[in-house]
Symmetry: C2
Subunit: 370 residues, 2 copies
DNA sequence: CGTTATATGGAGAACGTTCTACATTTCATC
DNA sequence: GATGAAATGTAGAACGTTCTCCATATAACG
């Protein structure tokens, strides 16, 4: 019985009440190979098989061979759920906010690369940037008996993360709290990254430089946005340019482009801009083209993230590369280390680098008044 | 004890033998509220609390109130791992191949949107497009006792998916096997999408049209690539243009751009091209710009996916929109329906639409020889 | 061979929940 | 009040694995 439906429009099938699980329970899968099957096949006890699986002390080579042979013959795979109930589930949870963050594919690739040779598996949960949703997702991961969590650019306050870290090992990526004692942080040095951007602009001869940052909701010093602002100010001061003007792009979507258009339309628009993230920098480039602002002749632009879109010939955005892949790798190793018992916190900063492209070339004094 | 490390380069901490879990086991968390705590607090049995949690038959309002009150007072959250061992874990696994697929953020948003009001949680696993890795990830999800799986653009043969579908409810997205009886398929009508692209090109006056598709590894009729080719051929024939030339972009990365450059450099290059996916269409636009091929004057381009990058002013790619969000929603509802007991398979096709942009405008006979 | 130390494998309970069977209570009818 | 049907709440076992304790076997030494 096959149903083929074509949907152009029309009503969607109604989703029934989720809580009514009375009518049909999980069908019984009676053919699963369990630890009992293996023990029986190998002629040993269940506890012996478990000892072999856990690489526990007190297993002879003869027993190990018998059990391993039975496992291979039967194709036994332990239930992660059952394992997690008493021991380890060999699962690492990764929490992502905003799956479109250009950073993320690389981080995930880094995580998966480190875990690939192991028995660990990464499971990803995607949340919106709301404290309640993030909290709920972390709780679900704990309820799942995952062995540890990597939180990527979490928006939660430090004290809430610390409360969770009492329950489960946690490593954060893209979260600057070097004072945290209950969890680890792994970051690109976002201050240094912004400094590098400014230094590159200065080296190309620009002096009239501003930063475009993100609006007020990202108020905490732990956020990458604030860190990049700090670095921007420091590099501007160090470059002898006392003033360090920072414009804010509102978080609310319909007004972001308005703010960028206003920036581009300014009579006193600077000659160079460091934008806090590629996502916004690329939008800025698009609007600049639309409004007849030439990049880099009228406005040099440096972004942050070195996203794959930035590298497109059509976009050609100079950008700070924070190597998400390496951050993912480092975070994963740190988490495994925590799972294995380390309690002293570690805070790791990786130095970013600039990838230069056509949005940033040598400054030319090509005044275009009006 | 805080450790702060800055990494520019240098050796990474060595990852210890994962199988040696002897030295340190999961720290005991003795303060977790369990079903026993709730039962004790409410003065009822464990089974009573379980019945309330499962919304099972045979629960009085008085008992329900007592238990619900205790649950709220204690902040009880059931262990998903323990639940999955006998009943449902209320978890849906989503398997993604290639996290950069422009389709995916929308699909995930659709899935999460449907699940948000429920007790279900989506957990995502990311795999490379290799049968062994995909298989291993699906097995892990089964071992985790997830209630069902959504496979997004899987590369596995149908019979392997069917074998898994005996063990766990499965819905596929972006996988055209309308004959499958063991699992559901939810797709954009990729044939129709390609037809729409060709029809739009014809309507704009183009007659010299080719398709750029993906190379031979995507050989199965279930793949979206083949489906788009079928639609292309049909629409070309229907438009009275018998020949339906389809060029192939190799899968291997360094040679993809070579193939596109060769296409762009052809003396007999067509006046319009339908590209199988935005990812390659956007690269084609970049190379066209670099090689002085004007879009759309020399070459009109239509992509597929309506990715967010296609919408950028800098890119401005006309593209077929398959509404990943809706596909995610439909797939999720279908999966819940399967989890609740439906065994008859369903195959759902959603009609895509064209989003027109500057890469596709009215054909003008502006011959530029040489 | 006897003694001591160490290694090994298994019994039984734990982990946190769901499921089944059924004793008891409640409700409706005469 | 008696009878029968339906509703209710609980006891005990199951789910699949890990952990702890300890009886026994093995190895080393005098």
């Amino acid at each position: 019985m096959v149903v083929l439906r074509v949907i152009g429009d029309g009503p969607q099938p109604q989703l029934r009440d989720f809580m009514s699980v009375e009518d049909k329970q999980k069908p019984q899968r009676n053919d699963r190979v369990t630890i009992r099957t293996v023990a029986s096949h190998a002629g040993v006890s269940v506890a012996a098989v478990s000892k072999v699986m856990r690489n526990a002390y007190g297993v002879s080579e003869a027993l190990r061979a018998k059990v391993t042979d039975a496992i291979e013959t039967l194709g036994y795979r332990p239930s992660r759920a059952a394992r997690g109930l008493r021991g380890r589930s060999f699962t690492i949870g990764v929490l992502l906010i905003d799956i479109r963050n250009p950073f993320l594919p690389e981080v995930i690739a880094g995580v998966n690369g480190v875990l690939a040779p192991s028995h660990y598996q990464a499971m990803i949960g995607v949340s919106d940037a709301r404290v309640q949703l993030e909290t709920s997702l972390i709780e679900s991961m704990i309820d799942y008996k995952m062995d540890g969590l990597i939180l990527v650019a979490p928006r939660l306050p430090s004290d809430i993360i610390a409360k969770f870290a009492v329950q489960i090992p946690i490593v954060t990526v893209g979260y600057h709290d070097a004072g945290a004692t209950a969890f680890d942080t792994v970051n690109a040095d976002d201050q240094r990254g912004a400094e590098i951007a400014v230094e590159a602009l200065l080296a190309c001869g620009y002096r009239d430089i501003e930063m475009l940052s993100l609006g007020e909701r990202e108020g905490h010093a732990v956020s990458v946005v604030r860190q990049r602002e700090i670095g921007f100010r420091r590099a501007m001061q160090r470059g002898g340019l006392g003033a360090a003007p920072i414009g804010k792009i509102p978080i609310a979507s319909p007004r972001r482009e308005d703010a960028m258009r206003k920036f581009l339309a300014r009579k006193d628009r600077p000659r160079a801009v460091f934008c806090w993230s590629d996502l916004d920098a690329i939008t800025l480039l698009s609007l600049a083209m639309e409004m007849g602002v030439r990049v880099p002749e009228d406005l040099a632009v440096v972004g942050y993230d070195n996203s794959s879109t930035a590298a497109l010939g059509l976009v050609n955005l100079a950008s700070i590369d924070q190597s998400g892949r390496e951050l993912g790798q480092i975070a994963t190793r740190a988490l495994i280390s925590r799972i294995e018992g380390r309690t002293a916190s570690e805070h790791i900063l990786q130095v970013p680098s600039l990838v230069s492209r056509n949005s940033l070339t040598r400054f030319k004094d090509t005044k275009h008044d009006g």
